[in-house]
């Protein structure tokens, strides 16, 4: 199962998550050199806040700030939860 949130517009990011037996995070970003580690940290912290350990996260970033990355990931997680209901 796969869910997405966000967009590829400037200052946004498109997050796709899918079920997985382990944690896998893939980041493609226009600012990966400068902010790749920070983006990964936001993703890991958001997953922790939602008590998720094993999942596949793909983040296509277009210069999103932390709050946007967190929001898009939270939306994708919420949508996955709703589909499972």
């Amino acid at each position: 199962m796969k869910t997405t949130a966000g967009s590829l517009e400037s200052s946004d990011c498109l997050i796709t998550i899918s079920s997985s037996d382990n944690l896998k995070i893939t980041i493609e970003s226009v600012v990966f050199e400068q902010f790749g580690d920070q983006i990964k940290e936001v993703i890991i912290n958001t997953l922790k806040e939602n008590n998720i350990e094993n999942i596949n996260v793909v983040c296509l970033d277009k210069g999103a700030l932390d709050y946007t990355i967190k929001s898009r990931l939270e939306t994708a997680i919420k949508r996955m939860g709703e589909r499972n209901e």
């Binding site: 966000g6 400037s10 200052s11 946004d12 932390d66 946007t68 929001s71 919420k78 949508r79």
Partner: protein, 270 residues
């Protein structure tokens, strides 16, 4: 007492994180028309995280929620009610809809008058708790009447007059409908001046480029400020309820109006 209200889409980070650079006195974050049905949840989460992280003292922030007949109405309010926002803009306003909103929030409410029925109920709407302004939505209003909008705006003159008069009678702000031609500065200026001359205290917009003109039109001019200062000075000197200034009779309503002009001038450093 804001001069300008700028709508920005609730699910667009590039606009949201720049909300304080547009020079609009108030921002209306939109959860309604500018957000696709499937992305309403996304907008609520985005705004919640944004306003939890950042705060703004210089600009009033409102959220235009979905109407009470939408399935998103309760989520829009419940998921944002704890945020540091000034209040809610309520589409498709009615007395019952405002009561419904008042049951779940204590925040300020700006109802949108956008149907013939809501226009007829304008006074009752003004009397409701937490209503701080009326916003005219001419696009939906003319759509319901089945008439076309024109640049002269004669077809909305009656509705504009009722809204401006009623809001002023209840001492709340009257916010005019947006001018939809975003490249037409001259047309915007004329439209805003017409609204101001009917008694509107402010105007909404859908494009940041319109804010400068709107702020200019709804700011008191230097002449108005000078006149207001003279009225207040003479009022304090004479200590009378009514007096003459330059051969013109000045009484309480004019003194109150002068106070408002000075209040506005002070607020916007004019």
């Amino acid at each position: 007492m804001s001069r300008s209200y700028l709508f920005i889409p609730g699910n667009t980070p590039s606009m949201i994180q720049n909300l304080d650079v547009f020079d609009s006195d108030a921002i209306i974050i939109d959860f309604e028309d500018s957000v696709n049905t499937f992305d309403k949840d996304s907008a609520r989460i985005l705004i919640k995280n944004f306003l939890t992280k950042y705060s703004y003292d210089e600009v009033d922030i409102y959220i235009r929620i979905n109407s009470t007949d939408s399935t998103d109405f309760y989520s829009d309010v419940n998921e944002t009610n704890d945020l540091d926002i000034t209040g809610y803009v309520l589409p498709k306003a009615s007395v019952e809809a405002i009561k419904q909103l008042n049951r779940i929030t204590d925040k300020s409410i700006i109802p949108i008058i956008e149907s013939p029925l809501s226009l007829l109920k304008t006074e009752d709407i003004c009397k409701q708790k937490n209503v701080v302004a009326l916003l005219f939505g001419a696009e939906d209003y003319t759509k319901e009447l089945g008439i076309k909008r024109s640049l002269e705006a004669k077809e909305i003159l009656y509705a504009r007059s009722i809204i401006a008069i009623t809001a002023n009678a209840y001492n709340i702000d009257a916010i005019d409908t947006p001018y939809t031609l975003k490249e037409d500065d001259k047309g915007l200026f004329i439209d805003a001046v017409n609204a101001r001359n009917l008694g509107f205290t402010s105007k909404s917009s859908i494009h940041p480029n319109q804010v400068v003109i709107i702020n200019k039109v709804f700011s008191p001019s230097l002449e108005e400020i000078t006149e207001a200062k003279r009225i207040i000075k003479k009022s304090e000197e004479t200590k009378k309820g009514a007096f003459s200034l330059d051969g013109k009779m000045i009484d309480l309503p004019i003194i109150e109006k002068a106070k408002k002009v000075l209040e506005k001038a002070k607020k916007y450093n004019l």
